[in-house]
């Protein structure tokens, strides 16, 4: 067995030794921490809350007290339990929506940006698709969501897919513009001169250099999808009550807030705010653009990740 695996590991060791990759940026776990805590809370929270999130647990509209930390809403549901219980629905919808619309946006943005000025069929298709996305954006998001949800019913999946379709044009446009910039860069010609075909060019140079806008924009889309879920809940096509969800909690609590019973709207709002903040930090930690200058400094100052020529000479 060892004789079979040995050359493999030797090859890998050599690959590592003569790799010329730039040092990878370290992920800042401190920035990730808040979002991890929220995810943890969403998973275990419902088991720890004092009341059920969906059954009446006390008097109607009672102010925050020891019995009901965040008070109760106009139906008598415990706001604290609902805020915690809503986390998993909101997180799943928002994360899935963000990822899905980013995937759609990146694929289309890359294709359209690369082919839109091409002659022939590819260019025609690319330009036609752009117009289709224009059409998609011309329809009000709420209306589009309404149509999608009324066709497929209000579920986590239909909401996610619907919102991803609504938000995808934003990502598409961002990526497309970056692709248009990158395709003029001289290093693409250099890569062609190095024998790369167009597909490899896209994967090795165009995609990595144009995707970062969409990745950085993910925190904004995360927040947007939470707000959009709320807006859809407001017009009655969100998740069906009494399923806990921050958006519908806020919208159904607006009357309470107007009459001075602030708690039923305030706490889900605060939860939403903290979540958006936590996930934008997380997205920054994971996808924030690597500043090449910093990398340059790191490569120059720290012990080199790649062996220096002296080390290579020694190895010989």
């Amino acid at each position: 067995m060892t004789t079979a695996t040995l050359p493999l590991t030797a090859a890998r060791a050599e690959r590592r030794k003569y790799s010329a990759k730039l040092p990878r940026r370290r992920i800042d776990f401190l920035l990730l921490l808040p979002s991890l805590l929220i995810v943890l809370l969403a998973i275990v929270g419902p088991f720890l809350t004092p009341y059920s999130a969906t059954t009446i647990s006390g008097a109607v509209s009672s102010a925050p007290s020891m019995a009901h930390l965040f008070g109760t809403d106009s139906v008598g549901l415990d706001v604290f339990s609902r805020v915690i219980g809503a986390a998993r629905y909101n997180l799943v919808i928002a994360v899935a929506t963000t990822l899905l619309c980013t995937v759609i946006g990146v694929v289309f943005g890359l294709g359209i940006g690369w082919f839109e000025s091409a002659r022939g069929a590819a260019g025609l298709v690319a330009r036609g698709t752009t117009r289709l996305f224009d059409l998609l954006q011309a329809v009000p998001a709420i209306l589009l969501g309404l149509v999608i949800v009324s066709f497929f019913g209000a579920s986590v999946i239909s909401l996610t897919v619907g919102m991803a379709i609504i938000l995808a044009p934003i990502q598409m446009r961002l990526v497309r513009i970056e692709v248009l910039r990158v395709r003029k860069e001289a290093y693409l010609d250099a890569a062609r001169m190095a024998g790369q075909n167009e597909l490899k060019l896209l994967a090795r140079h165009v995609l990595p250099n144009s995707i970062w806008v969409a990745l950085e924009n993910m925190s904004f889309l995360f927040a947007t999808s939470i707000l959009l879920t709320a807006a859809l809940g407001f017009v009655g096509v969100g998740l069906r009550p009494p399923t806990p969800e921050w958006g519908s909690m806020i919208s159904s609590a607006t009357n309470d807030a107007l009459t001075g019973r602030w708690w039923s709207a305030a706490f889900p709002s605060i939860a939403m705010m903290i979540t958006v903040w936590a996930f934008s930090n997380a997205s920054h930690a994971l996808f924030g653009r690597i500043a090449p200058k910093k990398l340059a400094a790191a490569a120059a100052s720290s012990s080199p990740v790649v062996p220096s020529s002296e080390a290579a000479a020694e190895a010989r």
Partner: protein, 266 residues
């Protein structure tokens, strides 16, 4: 060293449609071989960069024929092994010093890539050869571990030359390689290219709008105007006894520095 030769016959390039398009290059007939150093000089928009890109098979001619070692560029482009051999033989050094390297890769990674993909070197061999080529250009191999933003414009251009030379091409197409650089940096690079041409018998096609640099490096000149060669001949002859009106006008612009020109041509 194997010979390499371009033969151009009535080459034309048009961008866009027949009716509304723009003709960048027309009716070029010429020969470039690995023993020559040819300067192609002309103002911006004269079609010289388009010619360079066509010679590198990055652009196809609309009509006419470009043959490399007897083979049509179009046929070379259609066949993967032929294209790889062609890329080994012909390399391009571009004018853009800011975006000539992918900012996400180290310089070394970008230089190693052609060595591995075109000449089939192993990672280790490519790594070591990168050190050699980089040193040949007077740079420290350590610097190659930086991203392209980590070095100056002149150094970056040297790395770009290293990337082209690592496959030991027979013909180098240099498109405005020194135009964006300081005069002090220009000299070093020009000297290097001239020595390289002489010692390795690698052909140089030097595309530029600057006469002093071009006449310094090339023994032959082609003067390009609106997509055509208006004058062709040895550098000495073209500079001292220009025939075409455009060449005379071009030279008049340099009359302020006749001594330096004379010195360089001699």
């Amino acid at each position: 060293m194997n010979a390499a030769e371009f033969v151009l016959e009535d080459v034309a390039k048009r961008f866009g449609s027949e009716r509304r398009g723009h003709v960048a290059v027309k009716g070029l007939t010429d020969r470039f071989s690995n023993t020559q150093s040819v300067g192609i000089i002309g103002e911006s928009g004269s079609g010289k960069s388009t010619l360079g890109r066509m010679l590198c098979a990055l652009e196809t001619a609309t009509s006419g024929s470009i043959r490399f070692n007897g083979e049509e560029i179009a046929d070379i482009r259609a066949s993967k092994p032929k294209l790889i051999q062609f890329r080994r033989d012909v390399q391009l050094i571009g004018q853009d010093t800011t975006s000539s390297f992918d900012p996400r890769h180290s310089l070394r990674e970008s230089i190693m890539y052609p060595a591995m993909s075109l000449t089939g070197l192993s990672r280790k061999e490519a790594y070591e050869k990168t050190d050699q080529v980089v040193e040949l250009l007077g740079l420290s191999p350590k610097m190659a571990d930086r991203p392209s933003e980590g070095v100056s414009g002149g150094q970056r251009q040297r790395f770009a030359i290293a990337r082209a030379l690592i496959v030991e091409p027979r013909i180098l197409v240099c498109d405005e390689v020194v135009s964006a650089l300081d005069v002090s940096v220009q000299g070093g690079i020009l000297n290097f290219l001239k020595t390289y041409h002489r010692d390795r018998e690698a052909g140089i096609i030097f595309i530029s709008h600057g006469l002093p640099a071009t006449s310094f490096i090339s023994s032959e000149l082609r003067v390009m105007f609106q997509g055509e060669f208006v004058e062709a001949g040895s550098t000495r002859r073209v500079v001292t006894e220009p025939e075409a009106d455009y060449t005379k006008k071009l030279l008049a612009g340099y009359r302020a520095v006749p001594e330096t020109l004379e010195a360089e041509v001699a």
